[in-house]
């Protein structure tokens, strides 16, 4: 199995760290992984994106033109990456601030109102973990156990008390993602 994923949104939404946690989760399951960020000025104000590949086999290119899964967290990212999902692939978007929702019918489109849920949980920082939970609900590419292990591995120890809250956010994401 190989999943080629793009995660895109505004800088500061936790796009890169979401990708990193996903990549580490893959590592915890002995899978092959690459994490390739769009680096540079894109991270200030504009869109940030990261390509994550999780695979059972050797990964060739970290740079892709088409994706199995696109997770888009704002309108510019939706506009840019909706056409780049492979037919039969998955598009996940957060409805917050989206004026023009996705229109393709040859892919599975899911909506996750993670921004609203994070506000409800009174913690904007768990936004990306809600989205990640939604992803794992519709495509179980890593186990929740691997994800939790990845959090312990990637977060500095002083943040470890926050991991249960993050896992709660993952569960919330699993519940609120909806097929369109």
């Amino acid at each position: 199995m190989k999943q080629e994923i793009i995660i895109a949104g505004f800088g500061g939404q936790g796009v890169l760290s979401m990708g990193k946690i996903l990549a580490y989760s893959g590592l915890m399951e002995d899978k092959e992984v690459t994490w390739m960020p769009a680096y540079g000025p894109e991270q200030r104000g504009g869109t940030a994106n990261v390509t994550v590949i999780v695979s059972d086999e050797r990964i060739s290119s970290p740079i892709l033109s088409k994706y199995d899964i696109a997770i888009v967290l704002n309108q510019p990212s939706l506009d840019k990456f909706e056409p780049k999902v492979k037919p039969g692939g998955i598009l996940i978007y957060d409805g917050y601030g989206i004026m023009n929702p996705p229109t393709r019918t040859d892919i599975a489109v899911y909506r996750i109102d993670a921004m609203d849920k994070a506000a409800e949980m009174k913690n904007a920082k768990v936004f990306n973990m809600i989205v990640l939970g939604g992803l794992l609900q519709v495509c179980p590419l890593v186990t929740p156990q691997a994800l939790e292990k990845a959090l312990y591995k990637t977060l500095p120890e002083r943040h470890h008390p926050l991991i249960p809250l993050n896992m709660e956010a993952v569960d919330e994401g699993r519940k609120i993602i909806q097929k369109q």
């Binding site: 580490y24 590592l27 690459t34 390739m36 680096y39 540079g40 290119s61 970290p62 033109s65």
Partner: protein, 362 residues
């Protein structure tokens, strides 16, 4: 045997971790995107408290490379890292190192040019790296990693080659390999060489003169032309020896291939996916990846190209390595080039399209 720990890190971080583990004595550098994680990681790891490795943020790239000249002249394993505009500034120092036969390692995590250019990835320093880059007739050993694992592995290899031949060695990477995270197994710890070991292994180095020994003089300057010509001839003969012994390359699916892609570093990774995609559409394509860019695997390319119908050279530049491939092929086959410029990295499908339009045309 101890189980090897697999970690996930950026290519830039792998350079820093590997340097400490392979017994490096010092780093001198100046920050520049997209390679600043190297000096950041070294600063975080504080190797001066563990192995005793020195880490200095110099005032400029010119200062960094001359610190390498000085410390390596004393037989120390030292290196500097930068990105394209910074490496351009270092060329004088690298030329002096080549002239004075000083072993040192330079890492270039390339970005697009010319000038300050862009901070996005590029391979447009191929000429600068493989043609010497500074003044005079000289060559630098150039290794082109195409994965985070090779970033880690080539650190020790670069030092081994640099000291074996008393010649600067360069790791020519780019923003893709530097910034991406992949799985890596770091090299085992190797202690830094003791003063005694340095004296024994580098009898040429300026390690302090013992009674009765002639002074070791390290310089690239020689005003007597007859002597200077002899020194140049000795350098040239060393370069021929390196060309004979140190060529490294990798191939994939060349046996039944009708067409060959030649690509190095990150472009080789992208081309590998392009090759797989092209094969699914019935195009019989294989991949040749030079690992040493100098010495260039010209004989190997010429041999493996026999019986093929054509070659596509994929580089993230306007066409540099393609010249070396054309020299190797010597007109026997069509050799085309595909590349993107200015910090745009081609995607695998563009490579398939280039195969179709430039080479296969059926």
């Amino acid at each position: 045997m101890e189980k090897q720990e697999v970690t996930l890190m950026k290519g830039n971080e792998a350079i820093a971790y590997a340097a400490i583990r392979c017994g490096v004595d010092g780093f001198f550098g100046y920050p520049i995107t997209p390679q600043t994680e190297i000096i950041e990681t070294l600063a975080q790891l504080k190797p001066w408290e563990t192995t005793g490795m020195v880490v200095v943020q110099a005032e400029s790239e010119v200062a960094s490379v001359n610190m390498v000249y000085g410390a390596a002249g004393a037989g120390k394993r030292v290196f500097t890292t930068s990105s394209s505009p910074g490496v351009a500034l270092m060329q004088e120092g690298i030329s002096y190192m080549a002239g004075a036969e000083i072993p040192g390692v330079i890492v270039n995590v390339q970005r697009g040019g010319p000038g300050l250019g862009t901070i996005q990835p590029s391979q447009s320093d191929y000429f600068q790296a493989t043609r010497g880059g500074g003044n005079g007739d000289y060559n630098v050993i150039v290794l082109a990693p195409s994965s985070v694992q090779e970033m880690a592995d080539f650190m020790d290899l670069a030092f081994t080659l640099a000291f074996k031949y008393r010649n600067p060695a360069m790791i020519l990477s780019d923003g893709v390999i530097g910034q991406m995270m992949e799985k890596v197994v770091l090299p085992p710890y190797k202690p830094r060489r003791t003063e005694e070991e340095v004296k024994r292994e580098c009898p040429w180095a300026t390690t302090g003169r013992s009674a009765g020994r002639q002074p070791n003089i390290i310089t690239s300057l020689e005003l007597k032309s007859e002597v200077m010509e002899q020194r140049n001839l000795a350098l040239q003969s060393k370069y021929r020896q390196i060309e004979e012994a140190e060529v490294r390359f990798d191939t994939q699916q060349l046996d039944d291939a009708e067409y060959m892609i030649v690509a190095f570093g990150s472009a080789a990774r992208i081309a590998e996916k392009g090759m797989t995609s092209a094969r699914k559409r019935g195009m019989k394509v294989g991949l040749f990846r030079p690992i040493t860019l100098w010495p260039f695997p010209k004989k190997q390319i010429a041999e493996l190209a026999q019986g093929k119908k054509g070659i596509l050279v994929v580089e993230i530049n306007a066409g540099q390595m393609v010249q070396d491939v054309r020299l190797a092929i010597n007109g026997r086959l069509p050799v085309e080039h595909f590349g993107r410029l200015g910090g745009i990295v081609p995607d695998p499908e563009e490579i398939v399209a280039a195969l179709e339009t430039k080479l296969i045309k059926e």
